[in-house]
Amino acid sequence: MELRRDVFQAIADPTRRAIITLVALQAMTPTAIAENFDSSRQTISKHIQILTACELLEQEQSGREIYYHLNPHKMKEIADFIDPYRKLWDKRFDKLEAVMKKYK
């Protein structure tokens, strides 16, 4: 249960989602990933650490370089997550409540 929450936190961040979509295309070194963002390398490295800690990314040593690739099993697992669906309804119902308060 603890791990699940971590995975969701990992994908809740837009930069981390962008890293996921990048790495989904091909395995990349941390330097190559960081080149795609305006943020500092340290910031991106922290994001990579979080993604690795919850097993969304996997490391692969190739010579002197470390490559990161996506763990498809974990991706499948989080695809079942219902939180984005819940948020969709939450937003919709917030709107309903706001609209109806005018009729009070």
Binding site: I11, P14, R17, A18, I20, T21, L22, N36, F37, D38, I78, A79, D80, F81, I82, P84, Y85, R86, K87, L88, W89, D90, R92, F93, D94, K95, L96, E97, A98, V99, M100, K101, Y103, K104
Partner: protein, 154 residues
């Protein structure tokens, strides 16, 4: 942040239960579902037809940010004011089979109410696919943003 809307989607069951408590009297909550001009405001949709009675039909059209139109329609089976709406729900031009929805409205206090919505799907797989939609859209948005960033660098 408090999670006002609760979603239950038990594993291997072909249904979703959505529960939400509103800071609104029951009558106002129900009204939000039956008056077309009000429904249009909070659903962000255009109501082409809404016949609030058994055997009545409903038809909504939503325009997404890209300008594409999406149609939704169904038939109303039960309509009990301030209590219950039972209806079917179909997404037009999609691979999703029709869904069956049970909406139950109840009063909690004078100023608060609750909506309980049970959505029944044709199969567990269809339900899971629907649950995945917003997640996939989130990823797509991230991907689009990424493409923007990349094209700026080039």
């Amino acid at each position: 942040m408090e999670r006002k809307t609760k979603i239950e989607a038990e594993k291997s069951k072909q249904e979703i239960i959505i529960t939400r408590e509103f800071d609104l009297p029951l009558e106002l909550l129900f009204k939000a579902y039956v008056e077309p001009e009000i429904l249009e405001q909070w659903m962000g949709t255009k109501v082409l037809k809404l016949e609030n009675k058994p055997h009545g039909g409903w038809h909504f059209v939503t325009t997404d940010p890209m300008g594409n139109q999406h149609g939704f329609n169904g038939v109303i089976h039960e309509f009990l004011p301030n209590q219950k709406i039972t209806r079917t729900f179909e997404m037009e031009n999609s691979s999703f089979p029709v869904q069956l929805e049970f909406l139950e409205f109840e009063s909690l206090t004078e100023g608060t109410s609750r909506l309980n919505m049970q959505i029944v799907f044709k199969s567990v797989e269809d339900r899971d696919n629907l649950l995945k939609l917003p997640f996939a859209q989130g990823l797509n948005m991230a991907h689009n943003r990424l493409q923007e960033i990349v094209s700026r660098i080039k």
